[in-house]
Symmetry: C2
Subunit: 307 residues, 2 copies
């Protein structure tokens, strides 16, 4: 089933204690599609400026990513510059230059309007709603947002919640949106506003899938070396949605499995700078990591001799 | 198999956004033994002052806890006073009055020296070593500590590590002890100093069991209402050790199960003030919560139709 993402295609300059990049390929739609395309073809809607390196776009196409919804506009590409703390636990945004992204009005090519699985990356909720208007009959719509939109476009965001199936945000964003510091209550607050489910991303602590009656937790993969947390959340979303799109199964067991595929992609993302963590990652590698997650959390309630 | 704990028996005054207590029964040995005794008898070594309410001790004995190793000394009991932040994520210690605890030299009754399972609660590592000297042939020794001892008695703590099987600490303490912010590297650092395993407690994010080759993660139980985090770590230890002591099985699958019993006890601890969370909790309640943990993390790598 077709899988569509709308989001940023950016040039990232990131400094961590282990090195730095300058104008490296990044952005939510890029991390989503690079991770997702390992499992399933991905259609991207976005914009780049006239200065965007075509070799970078070519590299995405080589991964089987459909860029026919990425327009090239006159002007500068979206650039983001950040520096992480020594323990990677926090980061400071040094510069955000929207460039052509400021006037971005997503337009879906005719072939994208049949998309069954849709991920609305973290952009203005007005644009997210505009994308939804162009999709004919999506089977599942998931959506990210951020504190900036929660504060500046709260009404539009609440309107958007009535039209999506899954809100996928950081736990701090869920807290801010709901005004409740308890994340399980915050999740229920969100579910009362429309979505059937919410995915709360918790960084180094993994992620939660919450619906009205059940909670599923997947931890983060234990890594002794983390190089660059950038894009982990979007890679998570890419793995989650691509797993669902490839088998079209929205049953609770398969949604749990999708969470683990998401967490696996998040772990590949942070093992190297930018999208380099996905170089040479095969579907078999992803599956092996999913099995490693099983080993990480598996226990039996009863032993051979009772509890 | 007999289970022994040495630690503090205290009078806690705790304020949270939901209420406060004054001189309530607390301390590491108390939370450990109250949780543990639901599953298995617990022997306690500790000290109280001449002002300690005997009704509180009687209540412990009613739970089947053996207090014959708790001496009553002349002077004031150990008192601890703290206030939690609005979201319970941090706390400020307002007062610590050691009282008779300052001169505490644990002495094991003859009947306690055969203990098979030993938990050394968070006290001076010199005293922890002194307790170990009095135990004849323990099958499993686990040990807690805190930043204060890591800073002030590092050499004794490193000596202690050579004589224990499991170091059970908060992730921040593991970071401080090892000097490494990555908790998985910190765990390996600890394992190189003696213990076969380490349990890293992560508060609202659960706990990790790490040995040289594998990692097991148990999340915290999702609770919409948390009233008082005090004692959750000691209750965790009580559940963990009591589960092992009651079936005497140190196999990896049973150690994982013990982690979940620990996490279940931690969740009961935080649902009410002090030890009140354990009032009326039966072994069947604990088992039901262990099964709820299974539902929280369970997934199958393969679905009916493949991945």
């Amino acid at each position: 089933m077709s899988l569509l993402v709308v989001g940023s295609v950016a040039l990232d300059s990131v400094a961590t204690p282990f090195g730095e990049t300058a104008d490296a390929l990044g952005g939510s739609a890029v991390f989503f599609s690079v991770a997702g395309s390992i499992l399933h073809p991905v259609q991207v809607v976005g914009v780049v400026g006239s200065d965007f390196p075509l070799t970078a776009l070519y590299a995405l196409e080589q991964r089987g990513i459909d860029l026919s919804g990425v327009e090239q506009a006159k002007g500068e590409s979206f650039r983001w510059k950040a520096r992480y703390s020594y323990d990677l636990a926090s980061r400071e945004t040094l510069e955000t230059r929207l460039g052509v992204f400021a006037d971005f009005r997503p337009k879906l090519p005719a072939g994208f309007r049949d998309a069954a699985y849709v991920f609305l990356g973290n952009i203005d909720p007005e644009l997210q709603l505009g994308v939804l208007d162009q999709v004919k009959a999506p089977k599942l719509v998931a959506c990210d947002t951020m504190n900036y939109w929660i504060q500046s476009k709260r009404d539009l965001l609440l309107e958007l919640l009535r039209h999506i199936d899954i809100l996928m945000v950081n736990d701090s964003e869920a807290r801010e949106l709901s005004g409740d510091w308890n994340i399980y209550r915050a999740a229920q607050w969100i579910l009362q506003r429309g979505p059937k489910m919410t995915v709360l991303k918790q960084g180094e602590h993994g992620a939660l899938l919450v619906d009205r009656t059940t909670t599923f937790k997947v931890p983060a993969y234990p890594l002794q070396d983390v190089f660059d947390p950038t894009g982990a959340g979007d890679a998570f979303a890419g793995g989650f949605m691509a797993h669902l799109a490839r088998n079209g199964d929205l049953s609770p067991p398969n949604l749990r499995r999708a969470m683990v595929y998401g967490a696996a992609m998040g772990s590949f993302a942070v093992e190297a700078f930018g999208i380099q963590g996905f170089d040479k990652v095969t579907p078999a590698d992803v599956r092996a990591r999913v099995q490693a997650f099983k080993q990480l959390v598996h226990f039996d309630v009863d032993g051979p001799a009772g509890p």
